[in-house]
Every structure is written in C-alpha cells, then in structure tokens.
C-alpha cells in the first residue's frame, strides 16, 4: 500500500461536491426558491467542477485507473497547461467557487463539500503533487540494433529459367549433394 496521493481523494471529493452543488442548484431553480440566482450559479459552478474533476490524474507511483470515457476531458483539461496542472490553483479556485453556494440552503451542502475538497487539494499541493494527464501509450518501436544486419537485397543465385524448367521434369537430375550431413544419426 503506497503512500496516498492526497489529490486522489481530493478529486473524488471534488467530483462529488460538483454533483451535489449541481443537484442543489437544480432543486433551487426548479422549486423557484428564494435566492434562486444563487442556485443557477450553483448549477453552472457544479457543471464546471464536474468537467474539471472528471479526468483522473496519472499517479506518480502505481497504475492509474481511468474513468470511463475520460480521454476527451483529459485533452481539454490538459490544454490549460499550468493552470490546471497546479493544485494550489485548484485549491483556491474551489475555495472561491464554493463561497456563493453558502448563501442558500439548497446549495450549502455543495459549498461545504467543495470547501473540504479545496482543503485536501491544498494538502496535496503542499506535498508537491500535480496533475498529469493519462494519455494512451504510444508504442515506440525499438530502434533496430546495429548488429542486426539488413535483410539480403538480392535473391539467392538461381540457374536461368530454362534450366529450372528442365529440373522440374527431371527430379533425380536436379538433386545435388549437401556439403554437410543433414540427418541426425550422429
């Protein structure tokens, strides 16, 4: 059991928080609650967090398990370079995103969950972790070693076509003596 990369748990927590924020936002808007503007914000923020957190990072040590169909999300998140790579940025981003959720009951749970995710990301950042995309492995062919000789360029020497045709009819005459013994009696 290797040392945990805190980002792994932060990622699960943030994804859950995104979903909860989204759900709370939907309830707030659909129910036309007081402060539904905060709920509509929560829907947008929830979707954004889910999209950001869906692609799992590649683990520094050990096998990484991808989420289903995360490749396209990986590409999008990777495109933002250092902003999404750095976990300090993520920690502060989530902390900022969660604040408006605290102003309405329907979204307050999402707010707290996202806040906790932000704290775990902070811990991950302090420990020097960062986000790495999981990309499909490109099979690099090993360069051919020097000692392997290139295949022969020319076909083996053969008699001219007329004589080959003659040999096909006369099998006995076509036989020749081997320079080395090919039976295994010895």
């Amino acid at each position: 059991m290797g040392r945990i990369e805190w980002a792994m748990w932060a990622n699960e927590q943030a994804l859950a928080a995104g979903l909860i924020l989204l759900a709370g936002g939907i309830v707030g808007v659909a129910g036309q609650f007081r402060g539904w503007e905060f709920a509509s914000y929560a829907i947008a923020a929830g979707v954004f967090v889910c999209l950001l957190e869906y692609p799992r990072s590649k683990r520094a040590k050990g096998t990484s398990v991808e989420r289903t169909g995360q490749y396209c999300f990986t590409v999008c998140v990777k495109a933002f370079g250092p902003v999404t790579r750095n976990y300090y940025v993520r920690a502060f981003l989530h902390a900022a995103l969660c604040v408006p959720g605290g102003f309405m009951l329907a979204t307050v749970l999402g707010c707290v969950c996202l806040g906790i995710a932000s704290l775990i990301y902070l811990a991950a950042a302090v420990r020097g972790e960062h986000w790495e995309p999981i990309l499909p492995r490109k099979d690099t062919r090993k360069p051919v070693a020097e000692s392997i000789k290139s295949p022969p360029q020319n076909p083996p020497p053969r008699p001219p076509p007329e004589i080959r045709r003659k040999q096909a009819k006369d099998v006995e005459g076509a036989a020749y003596d081997n320079p080395m013994s090919v039976t295994d009696d010895e």
């Binding site: 059991m1 290797g2 927590q13 859950a16 102003f103 309405m104 329907a106 749970l109």
Partner: protein
C-alpha cells in the same frame, strides 16, 4: 448480473421487498392520514416524500452495522448447522451486502434531503404570508397560551433587512452572513444550522459524503489508512442520527375529533370562536430512530470488544518456512483456536501496519495442533511480510477468525471430485490433509473412499509447496497399499512448449508421479472415467475456481448422472470456498 442475482438473489429480494413496503407504507401514512392534513397543506407531498425515505433509512441504518460483525456472524453460522446452505453462504457475502445497504442509504439520504429543502422553503414562505389565508393562519400558531405551533420556523420578521445603525462598524456586513442575517432568504439556512434536526442533518450528511468518497475503490486500495480512519466518521453519523429527530419538528394534529379539518379549513378566522372549530392542536412526532439502531450499535460495540480481546490473545510462531517462488508458510498456534476445513483467518502484522488485516485461507487440517497459511507475494503488505519473516519477526502477529463456510460436505460422499483452479487450490490443501487424517484414524464421519483431484493452473509457479503436499500424500498412501485412494491430475492450462519425457517415471515439470497434462481437461473424458470406475456410487463434485468453470461442471454433472440407482450419480456443490 444475472449470476449475482441467482447467487445473492433471495436475501436481496427480501431486503428490497422490505424497503419497498416501508417506503410505500410510510408514504401513504403521511399522505393520507387526517392527522397530517394541515401539515400537508403547508408542505404538500414533500412531507410524505421526506418521511418515507426516513423510514427506509431507519431500516437500512439498522442493517448496515450487522454485516461487518464478522465474529458475530461466525457464531450465528455455527448455530445454523441444521439450516440450509444458502443461509450460511449469504452470511459470507457480508461486504457486498454492506455496500448495497450503503448505496441505499446514500440514495434515500438524497431523496430525504431534497424533500426537506422543499419543505423548509415552503414553510418559510408560509410564515411570510406568501401563500393563502389558511397557510398564514396555520403558520401563525405559536407555542403560547392555548396554541401549539405547526410551522417550526418561528419568529420571522416579514420585513426588509433593518437599517444600519451608526454603531454598526461593518455597515450591515454581519447581515451578509446567513447565521446573523434578518433576510428571509437566509431563514432556511439559519434554521438548518440552529435547530437540532438541521444541524445533525447537515453534519451526518457531510459525514456520509466523506465516508463514501474515501471508500471508492481507488482510495481503498491505494491507501487503506485514509479509508479506515474516515470510515470511523460512522460514529458521528450514528450519534447525529439518533439525535436527529429530537426536535420533534414534524408536527401532526391530535385534536382531530374536535376539530374537523375538512370543515374548518375554510374558516381560519373562526378558529377558537365557534364550537365546531376549536384551535387545532399539534404535537411533534417522537424520535423513532433510536429504537431501530440501538440494538445493532450495541452488537457492533460487542464485536469490536471481541476483536480486541482476540487480538490480545497470544499467537505463537511454530514454524516459518520460505518456499520456492517467494511463498511464505506460517505455522501458528493460538490458545482456544478451533478451525474447520476451508476456513480463512485475518492476519495483522503490527510492525508493518497497525490497521491492516488481510484474509488468508488456511492450509492446515483441523486435526493438526497448529494452523498454517501460505502467503504469496501479491502487493505491498505481503512483500513486507515476507521480508519481515525472513529476518525473523520481532513482534507477534494478530489473528482474527476463523471465518467462512466450513466445507464439511466433502466428507459426506463416497467418491469426491475436487477441482481446484489457480489460487483456488489452497482450501483443498486443508481438505485433503483432513481427509487423510480422518481416513487414518477411521473417523466414522468420513464416508469418502475415493478422491479424484483435478488441479488446473497456468503454471505451477508459487505452488511447488502444493505439489510437495501431493507427493507426500501419494507416498503415504502407497506405503499402506492404498494407491487408489487418491487419483490426481495436474492440468497446465498455460503450457504451450512441451518437452515430455515418456521414458522417465516421474514427470519432469513437477516431480509428480502421475503425468502432468497440458492444456485444459476434457471433462467428458474425466466424468466418463469416474463413472466407469465407480458404478452405483454417489459422487460429489466440489469446485474452487471461476464461475465459468462452475457452469461447465454443473452441466457435466447433470449429463453423466443417472436416475437408475445402479448407475452413478453426480452432485455439484456450489459452495465457494
């Protein structure tokens, strides 16, 4: 999925039926009862939608602690000797059931929370007079004089935020914080964080979310400590759950005999003034959850105490052997330890990790005065264990168990076909040793006269110790002229480069007397051979291996069985070791 249903079907079906029944029963109660007429007027169907999941939650929170009480389950299993095998096997699928119940708790929590969000919003609006006359009248009932309240949101000023006073340094900034705000938008949050139900609700839901995110498989497998520590938030969960209903905020009318809602609902102004409509009186529902969960909570505490006691019992090392391919054999002794064939124990090595307990099937027979496990290198913990044992251990190990279904049916058949695939061969070490001991001592419980053992594996790497065991048994049997007692065949299913020496007596690959076979067994041939050699016998077939193989064997058993008592009958035993 279908396989799962068949294997786990019956108890899961019963559980789901109970859940559905509870949901529908409580939904209808809160949706139809006269006592809740006025409550429903304020809350609509959201009342029933909140209370029905609450009932299902009570039931499932009661259940969730039970599957993880493995010592308790062992005790129960022991007393179910007479009962059906499916019952005993179900108790072994404890962790799957625990997860299933957890998913149900999560789902019901979501429904319950959403319903209560709606409830609080509508209660708030009622208090503010947004809805009709009746709602306002109901919400205005306070807990004073000859009134009892219905709407738990009390003392709202239906005015805009107060003007800032000159002394206020933050100029109304304090009112931004929901807990101090007078803004009606913040009333539900204020209620959530200041009422017992609200505060406990938020805390336990948060605990539940943290437990779930840290229990995801990636986290569990990578860093067990985080999973285990965070999982202990269940203590917070249960304490909060028990106190969640203490506010008694779900109110019902108790003077329905005097005050008929159908008649009086249109006359809120006349309440208390006309004899037909005295003021409606309300009381809160009593907290019920503790009645559901107190039993399992006590049982779980007993389980943890028992585990601790067992942990404290001394475990002595009898022998430590390192086999080829880095397989560690540990022979241990523990006072009062009684095992049966095919069972497993949990081992803990404090010098590696205080918290990790890993299960291993025992490879010794109950007749021996010690118990043994064979441990292969399969991850961090096992690697460290093998290293520690090679350097001779300093501390004692912890042993919890034994657990698991005893595979005692193997002794009941005159002829047994035992099929072990890969790592599934491990319980058969225990079984075959036990059969041999029983045979030597002429144990009357043993009816077995002949064993056919089929060992399937890709390669014998890491199983040399098992091959040695077979050789030892073979030698002992020959010494007693009982060479026919055990017939075994080894099938190397991954072998494609074959150099077979027909001249030599023993096989080159594993040194076993009977020849090793390459490729998968031809079951038709095997069953045919067994049938020919054992006419008019009852043959029991036991498998420890993949489910696909189970299907094949079951079909063959059916195919080669005959109703005629003079012919052979095959029974396939579905037990999973």
């Amino acid at each position: 999925m279908a396989n799962w249903i068949i294997n786990n079907g019956f108890p899961a079906l019963v559980w789901m039926t109970i859940n559905t029944f509870l949901f529908v029963w409580y939904y209808l109660q809160y949706d139809r009862d006269d006592d809740f007429y006025y409550t429903r007027h304020l809350l609509g169907s959201a009342l029933a939608w909140a209370r029905a999941p609450a009932a299902v939650l009570n039931f499932n929170c009661m259940l969730i602690l039970l599957p993880v009480c493995r010592n308790l389950l062992s005790l129960i299993r022991g007393s179910f000797v007479c009962c059906s095998r499916t019952m005993r096997k179900q108790l072994d699928k404890n962790l799957s059931f625990h997860k299933l119940v957890a998913y149900m708790i999560a789902l019901m929590t979501a429904v319950h929370t959403v319903a209560h969000l709606l409830n609080l919003e509508w209660l708030n609006n009622s208090k503010l007079g947004v809805y009709g006359k009746l709602s306002t009248a109901l919400s205005n009932l306070e807990d004073e004089g000859n009134e009892t309240f219905l709407n738990p949101l009390q003392h709202i000023e239906a005015v805009s935020p107060p003007a800032e006073s000159k002394e206020e340094p933050f100029k109304g900034r304090a009112s931004m914080c929901p807990l101090y705000s007078q803004d009606p938008q913040q009333k539900p949050i204020k209620f959530a964080f200041t009422s017992i139900a609200g505060l406990t609700g938020v805390v336990i839901t948060l605990s539940l979310i943290l437990i779930i995110t840290s229990s995801m498989e990636v986290i569990r497998r990578s860093y067990f400590e985080v999973f285990w520590y965070i999982h202990h938030l269940f203590i917070v969960f249960f304490v909060g759950l028990v106190f969640h209903g203490y506010g008694r905020i779900v109110r019902s009318q108790f003077n329905t005999d005097d005050h008929n809602a159908t008649f009086c609902k249109d006359r809120p102004d006349d309440w208390g003034k006309i004899p037909e409509c005295p003021i409606p009186q309300f009381k809160g529902g009593e907290p019920m959850t503790w009645k559901w969960v107190i039993g399992p909570m006590i049982i779980y505490v007993c389980e943890r105490v028992l585990r601790f006691i067992r942990y404290m019992q001394a475990v002595q090392y009898r022998k430590i052997v390192i086999h080829p391919s880095k397989v560690l054999e540990l022979q241990l002794r523990k006072k009062g330890f009684k095992m049966e064939v095919g069972q497993y124990v949990f081992l803990n090595c404090p010098s590696i990790s205080q918290l990790e307990w890993h299960p291993f099937t025992m490879t010794s027979a109950p007749e021996e005065d010690f118990f043994s496990v064979h441990i292969r290198s399969a991850g961090d913990w096992t690697d460290q264990l093998i290293d520690t044992m090679q350097k001779l251990p300093e501390g004692a190990m912890g042993v919890d168990g034994p657990f698991g279904t005893a595979s005692e049916d193997v002794f009941d058949y005159e002829v047994s076909m035992l099929v072990g695939a890969g790592i599934g061969v491990t319980p058969f070490a225990s079984i075959m040793k036990s059969i041999w001991y029983k045979f030597k001592e002429c144990d009357p419980k043993l009816r077995t006269r002949k064993i056919y053992f089929y060992w399937l594996c890709r390669e014998t790497n890491a199983f040399e110790w098992f091959a040695d065991l077979l050789q030892v048994l073979e030698k002992e049997m020959e010494e007693r002229n009982l060479g026919d007692f055990l017939t075994y065949k080894l099938f190397l299913t991954g072998w494609d480069q074959v150099i077979v020496h027909f001249d030599e007596d023993t096989d080159v690959v594993t040194g076993l007397k009977q020849k090793t076979h390459y490729g998968r067994p031809n079951w038709d041939k095997e069953f045919d051979q067994v049938r020919k050699e054992n006419p008019a016998s009852v043959v029991g077939t036991f498998l420890c291996g993949p489910a696909a193989l189970a299907k094949v064997l079951q079909k063959k058993c059916a195919k080669y069985s005959d109703v005629d008592p003079r012919k052979t009958k095959f029974y396939f035993n579905k037990e999973n070791f």
